[in-house]
């Protein structure tokens, strides 16, 4: 029980002192996860829009697969990305292993199914509303995808938030491909894993509290954006 009290104490101490290591770790966590989500959005949203707008044989199988991929275990993704980026692997010469770029790649892979699957549902709901009208105006499938993506942008923000939640909270992938190197690839979750393995549970928990606070802040910020949008009837 005393660990909890000590944890809050550690958390406040680190934040109040603006501990340099903490700031560095938080900054890197945000940079890696936000980059991963943005990259996943660029790839995943068009996939979701495509699935929402088109009909083709095997589409239901594709949807089932996509939904299932949302549950990809991070540690498995980490392993696969490691094998690809390892010097012994196909992309070895790129020298990306043990760098933040590798972490972004791994998290991006984890987030793409979420963005595509949830995005597809969001876009399809809007499509049901717009489809006939847009076709009457002469809009083709590509135009339909673009218009739906743009008009659904605020709802899609929530989709991106779901992806962000997955990215910022995972440790299995980034610890394998990043190596948890001090000042280079150490992020919140890998730092927590390290402190736990050193037995410093209070510090680990304190970092956990800070991570939680970070996630809550990001969510709150996005919700605020959505509220403004709704008032302007753009959502």
């Amino acid at each position: 029980m005393q660990d909890f009290g000590a944890a809050f104490g550690e958390a406040f101490r680190l934040v109040a002192a603006l501990d340099r290591d903490l700031v560095e770790i938080v900054a890197l966590s945000l940079q890696v996860s936000v980059s991963a989500v943005l990259a996943a959005a660029v790839i995943g949203l068009p996939i979701g829009a495509l699935l929402a707008v088109t009909r083709f044989p095997g589409r239901s199988a594709a949807l089932v697969l996509l939904n299932a991929l949302m549950g990809l275990p991070p540690v498995v993704v980490g392993l696969l990305v490691y094998l690809a980026l390892s010097r012994a692997g196909p992309l070895g010469p790129l020298g990306l292993l043990y760098t933040p770029a590798a972490m972004v790649i791994a998290q991006m892979i984890l987030v793409i199914p979420i963005v595509a699957a949830i995005g597809r549902q969001t876009i399809e709901d809007l499509r049901d509303e717009y489809d006939e009208q847009l076709r009457a105006l002469g809009v083709g499938p590509v135009g339909m995808m673009a218009t739906l993506l743009w008009d659904a942008r605020f709802s899609l923000l929530t989709t991106l938030l779901a992806g962000f939640g997955r990215a910022i909270a995972e440790v299995g992938a980034v610890i394998i491909v990043g190596g948890n190197i001090d000042h280079v690839t150490r992020v919140m979750t890998t730092a927590i894993a390290l402190e736990t393995s050193k037995g410093d549970l209070a510090l680990a928990l304190g970092l956990g509290l800070i991570l939680l606070f970070l996630a809550v802040s990001v969510n709150a910020a996005v919700m605020a954006i959505r509220r403004t949008a709704r008032h302007a009837a753009f959502a």
């Binding site: 390892s86 010097r87 012994a88 190596g179 948890n180 736990t196 037995g199």
Partner: protein
Amino acid sequence: MRRLGALLLAAALLAPVAGAGAADRFITVQSTTSTQNSGLFESILPKFTGKTGIEVRVIAVGTGQAIKNAGNGDGDVLFVHAKPAEEKFVAEGGGVKRFDVMYNDFVMVGPKDDPAKVAGGKDAVKAMQALAGAQAPFASRGDDSGTHKAELALWQAAGVDVAKASGQWYRSTGSGMGATLNAAVGMGAYALTDRATWISFKNKGDHGIVVEGDPVLFNQYGVILVNPKRHPHVKAADGQAFVDWLLSAEGQAAIADYKINGESLFFPNAGK
């Protein structure tokens, strides 16, 4: 205007990610979690970097994984404590040559109430037999690490078949040293750990060292340069500089100087 702002934001977000890892002169060392958790690297590496300007990036994983990674060429130097496995690594052409660097020792830790009555002992093998006899809970790393291999050698010497007892009093966590110690403390079990990790471990609970000082608990560390002939991208010159430094009088002194509560954790023995 909004588009420009978005581009700038994206650039600001991605720049450190893209840039990091590209600058500086650095080498990658594959080592073990026990070594890292002991705090040794935080103590000695700045001295090396200060002298040579070469940053050292340590990947701390289990011994087996470290050797595998080095074999894949995902590191410039291998620094673990599993002599037979290291010699095999060199023999198979994965590394150039193995050098002794330092040793520390293993200790057995256990709960204060000491159900197997082994506290204060100086004979590790006898203690293991007592544990098996009392069926006292024991937490093993179970991860093919240097520590794990040493532990298994002791059980064998004690004539105990732990595979049979696995899941009952013998608990194989399949984890690093820290996680295994957390488990041991959490379930009141005995465990074998290197002294360095134990001294710097912050979750001791009411556990203490019960057996120490037996020569069989001796834990030798070796350093190997990853073979640049097999992996041409290996930073051979800088990697060799690190190996040389570890073996040099300066490096050896740095190792000896690392103490916790005035107690040395590692004992340099290069070239001895």
